[in-house]
């Protein structure tokens, strides 16, 4: 809890500016608003841990600007503004489980996985590819998201995609 709002520490660096004094320069992400601020703490400062829990929820569907989730154990439903999904949104698959931060019984953010695995649903047959960028072509994934992949990727293959960059990582042997 920082300034009465739950924050996630997204970056932390150690600074030692003076005689044995130690500081942590941090980037804190406000879980509710998504905004990021920088703050430097003295080593030893105490903060209350936010009572945010992470629940594994099933993504049901998108309706307007809201994403609907359900806890498959309790059938409890949650909704989350789609903006809070950030770069994960085009990679999200209905029916799939995601880790969601829950605070005060409300879903406040998704803890994005490092990468997701998705099936290639459309690839131009015999595409020559763009040889300037090292022989790649564009394919469509099952969520509708398009990525550049190496030429050997075929329709029906499963590939992993980095959530941060939205880019292809590797082919997954299934």
């Amino acid at each position: 809890m920082f300034r009465d709002t739950p924050h996630i520490v997204v970056e932390k660096t150690f600074v030692s500016p003076g005689k044995g004094s130690a500081f942590y320069r941090t980037k804190l992400k406000n879980i509710k608003s998504g905004s990021v601020l920088e703050f430097t703490f003295k080593s030893g400062e105490k903060l209350e841990e936010a009572s945010v829990e992470v629940q594994e929820l099933q993504y049901l569907y998108q309706e307007g600007d809201l994403l609907s989730f359900m806890n498959p154990g309790t059938y409890e439903q949650f909704s989350l503004p789609k903006d809070m999904a950030g770069g994960l949104l085009p990679l999200m698959k209905e029916g799939e489980g995601y880790q969601v931060y829950v605070f005060d019984q409300k879903a406040i953010a998704i803890r994005p996985p490092l990468k997701v695995f998705l099936k290639v649903t459309h690839s131009e047959a015999g595409a020559k590819g763009n040889t300037v960028t090292g022989a790649t072509k564009e394919v469509e994934l099952e969520t509708g998201h398009k990525v550049l992949v190496p030429l050997f990727i075929k329709e029906g293959d499963t590939v992993s995609v980095n959530v941060d960059s939205g880019q292809y990582v590797e082919r997954i042997q299934t």
Binding site: F14, V15, S16, G18, K19, G20, S21, F39, T40, K42
Partner: protein, 364 residues
């Protein structure tokens, strides 16, 4: 250790990492050219020492079985040589500081440049910094852009053209104009302007506690004055320091004097400065403390802080204190200004690297 053994492969694959080696070599050549032009003497001092600088700023590596330490800087030995009568000297060497944490601007083993100008004060060093950085950048710009075009008769024209063009560089997507004079701002002005704090009053610990509490920081009685100072500096001042030009921050509060001389005109401040380029803190310079009694007092204080912080404790360098007392003139070491510059960070600047490991890829 596995990771370290594989770094040569990483270098093999990366053109950029290889190129950084060439840039570093050019920077070192330019440095030596600059100091030769200024009639400075390059010297060499030991890295294995029995009584290192006890400044609790960092922990020190010890070789237990020999009771020796890896020097955290060459400063004490250089000053002994100045006391022995050498004048206007510089050294480029490896130094060792145990940071105990990993971060993108510190290395446990790093390359340091120190130079000492005899008879000078810190304002002359500030001008040295401006001249040195611009000299290196000129040399790098010439090598980069003039070489492919060297044809008979063309050389002079091309070079002067480039000299005019290249006073600014790009570091991490920001353009920085290196041309002197650089922005100079005192710690007092910076605290007033960016944090609305009067440093003259803040220097009293009770006032510092009050100000920090009012600003909403956590304050406990165990916090030292320095911690309170740095909490404001790091949160409110440093992020707002101008970055479009190199910046000289000068006249540090007396508790942060380190090995610098207290100002005669105002004992709350010391003749110390740091310079920043593109947010990188590159150098730390002083009008050197030459009073042996005051020096001895500060060494003892540093060792006291080391005890409190549960850091390694050792006897201070009595020979260094003697050197300040005795020579070369009757009045001791005599007026001198000296500065340390982090070479790896300088290479980061000139190679547009955001992480120090990009310029020293084999470091632990």
């Amino acid at each position: 250790m596995q990771e370290i053994n594989r770094t040569w492969k990483k270098i093999k694959r990366s053109r950029r990492l290889k190129e950084n080696f060439y840039q570093k070599a050019k920077i070192l050549t330019a440095l030596r050219e600059f100091f030769a032009k200024e009639n400075f003497l390059e010297i060499d001092t030991p890295n294995l020492v029995s009584a290192p600088d006890p400044n609790p700023f960092n922990e020190i590596f010890k070789i237990e079985e020999k009771n020796l330490f890896l020097a955290p800087s060459p400063e004490f030995f250089i000053k002994k040589l100045l006391a022995a009568g050498l004048k206007n000297v510089y050294q480029i060497t490896k130094s060792y500081r145990d940071w105990q944490e990993n971060d993108p601007t510190h290395l446990n083993e790093f390359t340091i440049l120190e130079w000492y100008r005899t008879g000078a004060d810190y304002t002359e060093l500030m001008r040295d910094c401006e001249n040195l950085v611009n000299f290196i950048w000129e040399r790098l710009s010439l090598v980069q852009s003039a070489t492919p075009r060297l044809r008979s008769g063309q050389e002079c024209k091309v070079q002067s053209y480039n000299l005019k063009l290249k006073t600014s560089l790009i570091y991490q997507d920001k353009q920085i104009n290196l041309a002197p004079p650089w922005t100079r701002i005192s710690c007092k002005e910076a605290f007033k302007r960016y944090a609305n704090v009067n440093l003259d009053e803040f220097i009293d610990i009770n006032n510092a506690r009050k100000v920090c509490r009012e600003k909403g920081y956590q304050v406990s009685l165990e916090n030292s004055w320095e911690e309170l100072y740095h909490q404001i500096f790091l949160n409110e001042v440093e992020p707002k320091l101008p970055k479009e030009q190199p910046l000289i921050l000068y006249d540090y509060p007396a508790p942060l004097a380190a090995l610098s001389k207290i100002k005669e005109s105002n004992s709350r401040y010391a003749e110390r400065f740091e310079f920043y380029i593109g947010g990188l803190e590159l150098g730390n310079g002083y009008s050197e403390l030459t009073d042996s009694n005051e020096q001895e007092k500060r060494l003892r204080q540093d060792l006291e802080i080391r005890k409190i912080k549960k850091m390694q404790v050792f006897d201070y360098d009595h020979d260094f204190v003697d050197a300040l007392k005795e020579g070369p003139g009757r009045a001791g070491m005599g007026k001198t200004a000296g500065i340390a510059v982090g070479i790896d960070r300088l290479v980061m600047l000139f190679t547009d690297s955001s992480d120090i490991h990009e310029v020293t890829p084999m470091s632990v």
